[in-house]
């Protein structure tokens, strides 16, 4: 393929000599496309392999499918104690709760930090920034004890309630950055029209910060969907498993002969992330570019 594309540009180059300046963009494209393919090849191969009959995973490194089989999906869906639908639903509940929690609590805190004047603001703001970098391991043991005393183990509460309390401070920061870009004159005009702090927030700021809310929604969706550590710790009853915990138990409970169905369920678990990426990449790229996390 490389030589062929090269030849076409050379002939298209009419009379001019083959200079480096002329073939340079082409070389760059070939290198970029090549490395992109190498990077994504394993993932593409996993999707293809999940559609092949059983043992081909160990034999065929190619990505051509001759006959498409969905038996791996059928087997994988019912390979664990519960049908996979159950785990998808559990994950969906955790994700939905986390999104609502983050949107409500982080936008409130962000409004306070970006627009309101109150004593101790700088201090709390610094604490908030520091808490972004705090490793979860430092708090996980007492949190576990706390939630287990509340009887919350094997419920979704330990995974959702912290989000309602804005513990994902990263999003507070992201929203603060965004609100600062909204002209203060709008608040001022609303204030003169008799709006209080709460209605300025509800009627002016919230509608204008929809892009930041969208970024938060997509990141929360992907991170919570992928999150493993806390779900592994809080959900030990197979009935309550979320997708990542269920997948992991798949690794433990099956012999190497069921790689096909394991791949199939892995693909199922990646589909929502991939869709979120497709629909939301504009917000994702902007989100990391302006705040620089993950």
């Amino acid at each position: 393929m490389t030589t062929e594309t090269l030849r076409t540009t050379v002939t298209a180059g009419r009379t001019g000599a083959i200079t480096w300046a002329r073939i340079r963009p082409l070389v760059i494209h070939v290198l970029l496309a090549g490395s992109a393919l190498v990077m994504l090849y394993p993932v593409i191969w996993m999707v293809v392999s999940s559609l092949r009959p059983g043992n081909e995973i160990f034999r065929d490194p190619g990505i051509l499918v001759k006959d498409l089989r969905i038996e791996n999906y059928r087997v994988g869906w019912h390979a664990l104690t519960e049908p996979f639908t159950r785990y998808l639903l559990n994950s969906a509940v955790v994700v939905l709760g986390s999104i609502i929690g983050n949107l409500v609590s982080c936008s409130m805190a962000a409004y306070a930090f970006a627009r309101l004047e109150f004593s101790g603001k700088k201090f709390w703001f610094a604490i908030m920034l520091l808490s972004i970098m705090l490793p979860i391991h430092v708090v996980i043991v007492p949190q576990y004890i706390l939630f287990s005393n509340l009887g919350w183990i094997n419920t979704v509460l330990p995974l959702i309630v912290p989000k309602l309390l804005a513990t994902d401070a990263f999003f507070v920061f992201l929203m603060v950055q965004f609100i600062r870009g909204i002209p203060r004159e709008l608040d001022e005009a609303a204030r003169i029209d008799g709006c209080g702090k709460a209605s300025i927030f509800g009627r002016i700021i919230l509608p204008l910060m929809i892009p930041a809310l969208a970024t938060t929604t997509i990141f929360t969706f992907i991170w919570t969907w992928n999150d493993f550590f806390s779900q592994l710790i809080y959900l030990t009853d197979p009935h309550m498993y979320t997708v990542p915990v269920a997948l992991r138990s798949f690794v433990d409970s099956t012999s190497s002969s069921s790689w096909g169905s394991m791949f199939a369920m892995s693909v199922v678990s990646l589909v929502p992330v991939f869709l979120a990426f497709l629909l939301g990449q504009r917000f994702l790229i902007k989100g990391i570019a302006t705040t620089g996390i993950k």
Binding site: M39, F118, P135, F277, I285, G292
Partner: protein
């Protein structure tokens, strides 16, 4: 612009001419403050206390002074987990950032289809922390995995990359390097900030591609490199999922992928040795803190601020 920059510039900010409204401020901050004390600071203090106790979740915590910490000094598995973690962090982060920077520079030079490549390279960053990708890695680097099948096509005989203690950690390094997309996007945003007139002036003076990179791009990008370095190091120290799933939860073979966080999980949630796990968690916080502080200190000598 970034969280780090914010922390540095906090002191210089002038108050805006607005009347203080403590009631409204603290009402809006209430959920966050509640979370800060109940979910973050409270548990932090509790875990500091627990780190001086012997506690198994069933009996009440028993105060044992510094015993957990002296035990850490002689715990061979813990020392090994530190070695594994340090190797992982200090091999994978520089590699990851170097590749991210290289591709960002290439993409920034007006390549057609830049947005497409950016998305493709960014995608693994979103997938990389999932259990599904860890499962894929387990297969790809297994004895009969994809890598060995491909090597076989070229007549090279592979081996069990994950079952061999000398290469198992390497597969996890590859996985972390694979997620270079997010630092790359941050680099790209940083490259946009460099005024093109610098490059034009340099071209007029006859500076070549390499010269321009080392004399303009690299110095002006050092704040972003620093930012990425701090974040990725903090992040890499806390890696868990990939090692856990790839090693089947054991940190094996022969503890070669036993990250500090895996050992912490094993002590705390595998053996319910909560006092020791808390001591380990605080030790991890100190390690991360020390490296972050050292990073900030060293930055005075190599990070260039253009203002």
């Amino acid at each position: 612009m970034s969280a780090l920059g914010e922390l540095g510039s906090l002191r210089g900010k002038k108050p805006v001419g607005q009347k203080k409204d403590n009631l409204a401020g603290y009402l809006f901050l209430a959920p966050w403050l509640l979370g800060l004390f109940l979910i973050t600071i409270g548990p932090m203090v509790a875990s500091l206390y627990l780190s001086f106790t012997d506690y198994n979740l069933i009996q009440a915590p028993k105060w044992i002074g510094l015993e957990n910490f002296t035990r850490m000094l002689s715990d061979e598995r813990l020392h090994n987990s530190l070695r594994v973690t340090f190797t992982y962090v200090f091999v994978s982060v520089p590699l990851q950032l170097a590749i991210a920077l290289l591709l960002a520079v290439v993409l920034d030079r007006g390549v057609r289809g830049m947005a497409f490549y950016r998305s493709v390279f960014y995608l693994p960053s979103l997938l990389g922390s999932s259990v599904a990708i860890a499962i894929l890695w387990r297969q790809v680097f297994g004895t009969t995995g994809l890598l060995n099948q491909v090597l076989d096509v070229f007549g090279i005989e592979g081996k069990g990359w994950i079952s061999d203690p000398s290469t198992a950690l390497g597969t996890l390094v590859v996985l972390n390097v694979w997620t270079f997309g997010s630092p790359m996007v941050i680099f790209l945003a940083g490259l946009r900030q460099i005024p093109t007139m610098y490059y034009e002036a340099a071209s007029v003076d006859g500076a070549g591609v390499l010269r321009r990179f080392f004399s303009i791009t690299l110095p002006l990008l050092t704040p972003i490199i620093f930012f990425n370095l701090v974040l990725q190091i903090i992040h890499a120290f806390q890696s868990f999922t990939q090692a856990f799933v790839v090693s089947g939860g054991s940190g094996g073979p022969s503890d070669s992928t036993m990250f500090f966080t895996l050992y912490l999980y094993d002590r705390g949630f595998g053996n319910f040795d909560m006092g020791y796990a808390s001591a380990m968690a605080w030790f991890l916080l100190v390690i991360i803190g020390v490296f972050t502080a050292a990073n900030f200190f060293a930055s005075k000598y190599w990070v260039f601020y253009d203002d």
